[in-house]
Every structure is written in C-alpha cells, then in structure tokens.
Subunit: 307 residues, 2 copies
C-alpha cells in the first residue's frame, strides 16, 4: 500500500540544554517520511524546497523509498527555516526565527504517479492547502489523517473547520485540542472534535503519552520514560509518521490495528528524541524498533483477576 | 493482614470551578483509611483530632473496620484545617488557609493493639514524626511506604533523608521527585531516589498516571481519562490507600502484585475526584470498583506480534 505525505522539508537551528546545532535538515515532512519509510514503501512526498536543500538528503530519501515527484524545487529562493530554543524542562520552547521563504508560495499539486494512494497524511499547513490536496485526489484514500496547530485556529478557524469535515482522523496535541474546542477536559474536547468531522482522534501528550478516541472507545499509550530527551524537535511528526507507516503497511484501519499503530508511532518518537534532528530515524534498525515495542508491552502489562 | 496508616484527620474548605464547600471532613489519613478499608480490615489509624471532629464520621470509620485506638483527641483545641482554591484547569491550586491547631502537637504513639501489623503507610508528616512511628514498632512490617512533600524538603531535608533509609517505598508526585533530587528527568530522579533508601518508588503524575520503579524495572499505569474532575482533593492519598489496601489484602509484595495495587489505587482515585471530599469513597461498591479496573485493562490493552 502507498502513503502520500504532505509537509515541510526545511532547515532547523535548535538549542537545547544539551547543545546547539547549526542549520540542520528538518521539517514535518522529513520526520514523517523517514519514520514511515521504516514500515512502508513508497512514501509519496509532497513538499516545496529552495535551492539550498541538500542533494544528499534527497538522495537518502529516495534510497529509502520516499518518492519526490511531488516536491517542488524553487530555484531562486531558500527553504523554510525555523529556529528555536528549548527550556531546561524540555517541555516548552521559544521560537527564535521563522523564515517562510518558499513556503509562502506552497500550492501543492498531486503528481499522476501518486494517484490511487490508499493513505494520506496531511502535515501541519494552511487548512486551504490541506483541502486542495484532498480535492486533487481522483480517488478518496482509505484513511486521511491531518495535523494542525494553534496558528491556524487563530488565523483560519473557518477554513480549518471545513477541512475537518473531509478527514477521517485528526492528530493534535493536548493544548491544541483544548484550544480547538475551548474545553479543559480532554474527554469533553475529544467528544466535541469527533462531532466536527473526524471519526478518529489522536491527542498527543508528549512525555505523557497519547490517547486515541473513536466513538465511545478510548485507548491510551504511554510515552517511554526516558533518561534523557536530547532534542524533542520532530517527535510529534515522527509519531504520526510511524503511526501512518504501520497503518499503510498493514492496510488495516480497525481500532485494534490503530492501537498497534500508536505503539509503533510512540516507539519511533522515542528514538527521534535521542539525537538532534532526524538522524536517529535514519540509523534505527528493525531489531531496535522491535525491542522498543517490547519495552512498551512490558511497561503497561499487568494481570489482574476480578473475583 | 492489617495495615497501620498515619495521617491527618481534618477539615477542608474547597473551591473548584464547579462549586465550593463549607468545612468538610478531609485529611490524608481520612482518604487513605476510606480507600484502604474497601480492601482490608482492620485499618489501624494513627492521627490527632480536636474537639470539633464529628462523632458521626468516627462512627462511620469504625463501622468500616478502621480502628481508632491510635487517634488522639485533644479536648481544648480544634482539628487541623486547610482551605484551597483550584484553578480553572484543576491542575494547580492556591492555599487560602492552613491552621495547624492540634497538628502542632502531634507526637503519635502506637497502641499495643496495633503491634504486629504487616503493613505501614506513613502519610505526609514531619519526617521526625514518621521516624518515631517506625521506631515504636516492635516488629518491622513487611512493607513500609511513605509520602512526603516539598515543605519538608525545604525545612527538614536532613531528617527526610534519614527516614528514607528506613522505608521500603516512597510515594510522591513528579514535582516532588524532581525537587528531592534536583533532576528534571523522572527516570534519573527515580534512579537517584532508589539510592537514598527505598527499594520501590511510585511517582504520581495526577491526570497523567503513575510510574512504579524497582531496580531496573518500570511499570506505568495511566489515569482514567475523565470527563469531569469535580474535586482533586485527596486523590493522591486515595491512590496510596487503594494501593496499600490491595497489598495488605493480598499480603504479596512482589513487583507483579504492586502493579495490580497501582491499578487498584488509580481506580480508587478516579472515584475520589467525582465528588467533593471523601464522600464517593464511602458509597462506592465492589461492582463499581471491578468495572473501573476493567476500564483500565481496556484502556491500555493492545496486542502486537513482533515478526
């Protein structure tokens, strides 16, 4: 099965209590694609880059089964750039710079070679861009998932509410779920979001794990307790990429299989934070992934007899 | 098996976004005892109260198998009083009043009838008081667990470090674990605490669940996602009471059984927050508790084949 992913391919400069980077490759589309490519091929990438995006990175992605036909290259502009500094607790960060560059002109179109894909992951982009992608598809995928953020809730809520009616699953964090609904209780927020269009909702809680809601069902996956979180950048996108990679690999959109997808996504996110940027996602082996999934099983497993 | 519990029996006045109470019965010892008495009898309570503590509450406790021989009654003083206001998100609160009253003189002694108890839960009290209780016991219990708080870390750290060497298990929240060790990473904090004396550590994360550490083993239990948290007061003590109640009922201090205890404690805490004060703990039935434990099983259960 194939998976279309739409997201940024960009540069980040990151400061954490453990160190700082110069400009390194990042962007939601990069994290999603590297995470998903551990499970499914092809990953059909849609993005936009400038003249400065490294050819070696593109070669690496191609080698991992990431198709780049849908990646537009703008010859006279720079790639999107973000810079941020994490606080001591690693749970909050300040944005130091956001240079849209090529992203200001992003108007993606679907290459013919991508048509017929069974799965679609819409990264965090303007809701109008997300909707355009959906409408350009000749056949509706089996599962359309999307991410979004507070910026679009503040600047384009009406558009966001429209695109929500076209997707099957929303993947956001706890603060975003509260902001989208105005509700403090995540359970109430989830019920409200499931009335807005998506039939499935994943709420990411960072180091506190993730919740999956569908109808009256709920599943909780913990995050792995880690000794060090070296760089949280991209962990949420990596989670989404691992989740969609597992779903696309299996072709199974049952609730039971989505639970497995969340464990896979959580495992991938736990690798992501071990090094700066997406580097850990490129070196991780199947054996390491399986061992980490086993750690998740051990972490939450208990037997209790109700007598 | 019997369980000695040491903690406050007091009055609270609570404001939440859902309403406010006049003075109602509260205190760590009350929550621990009511929670534990759902699982084990006798619960042998050690506390101090003033002339104003309601006789009906004492009668209710006795009826539930809570022994009160170790509860000192001071005829000319009032019971301990705490008043607080929860913020809109229910995760933080302001203390409006703390009247120590009888608590200033608390110097507990162990009634002869309590000697030989297999389990001891030391509620959050001055470390010297906690140590005195341990030293008054003729036989060492199978498991001694204790709670503490930031106040004692700031005012009596040396005493706290001494009493930690005498206990088997520490039960604290995430902020307290960080403060006790000066470490941001809970995993690193846990390793440091397991060097201070306790062989077992439970870190409570409120709505984000709880972690159990022992040697290199770790277990995670989620909190149940709740539509409404009506009043969080006493939830942590109720968790500890449910945990120790299960351990004392079974007499089994294996890691596997402690996992079950944490699920039982989490279930009891999820009832506690449904109403003001400990009232929900008095009316909950075995059928309701079993149904809630089943919800925890369903919440985290997943099957994944590693191929």
């Amino acid at each position: 099965m194939s998976l279309i992913t739409v997201g940024t391919m960009a540069f980040d400069a990151i400061e954490t209590p453990f160190g700082k980077t110069d400009k390194i490759v990042g962007g939601s589309g990069v994290y999603v694609a590297y995470a998903a490519s551990n499970f499914v091929k092809p990953v059909q990438q849609i993005s936009i880059i400038g003249y400065d995006f490294p050819e070696e990175e593109l070669a690496e992605m191609r080698e991992r089964g990431v198709w780049l036909d849908g990646v537009e290259v703008v010859k006279d502009k720079k790639s999107f750039f973000w810079s941020g500094r994490y606080h001591e607790d690693m749970n909050s960060r300040d944005t130091l710079a956001t240079d849209l560059n090529v992203l200001a002109d992003f108007d993606p179109s679907i290459p013919d070679s991508y048509q017929g894909a069974e799965f679609l992951m819409l990264g965090n982009l303007a809701p109008k861009v997300q909707l355009n992608v959906i409408q350009e598809l000749n056949e509706r995928p089996k599962l359309i998932a999307m991410d979004t953020m507070n910026f679009w809730m503040e600047s384009a809520m009406a558009d966001l509410k429209i695109v929500l009616k076209y997707v099957d699953m929303l993947i956001i964090n706890d603060a975003e779920a509260k902001q989208l609904t105005g509700m403090y209780s995540l359970v109430k927020a989830a019920k409200a979001i499931l009335q807005m269009g998506p039939k499935y909702l994943i709420i990411k809680k960072g180091e506190h794990g993730a919740l999956l809601f569908h109808g009256n069902e709920v599943f909780f996956a913990p995050a792995l307790p880690l000794e060090d979180v070296f760089d949280p950048t991209g962990a949420g996108d990596t989670f989404a990429g691992g989740f969609m990679g597992h779903i696309a690999k299996t072709g199974d959109i049952s609730f039971e299989n989505m639970k497995r997808g969340i464990i896979v996504g959580s495992a991938m996110a736990s690798f992501c934070v071990e090094k700066f940027g997406p580097s850990r996602l490129k070196e991780v082996t199947k054996e390491e992934i399986d061992a980490r999934i086993q750690q998740f099983k051990d972490l939450v497993n208990f037997e209790i007899e109700l007598t």
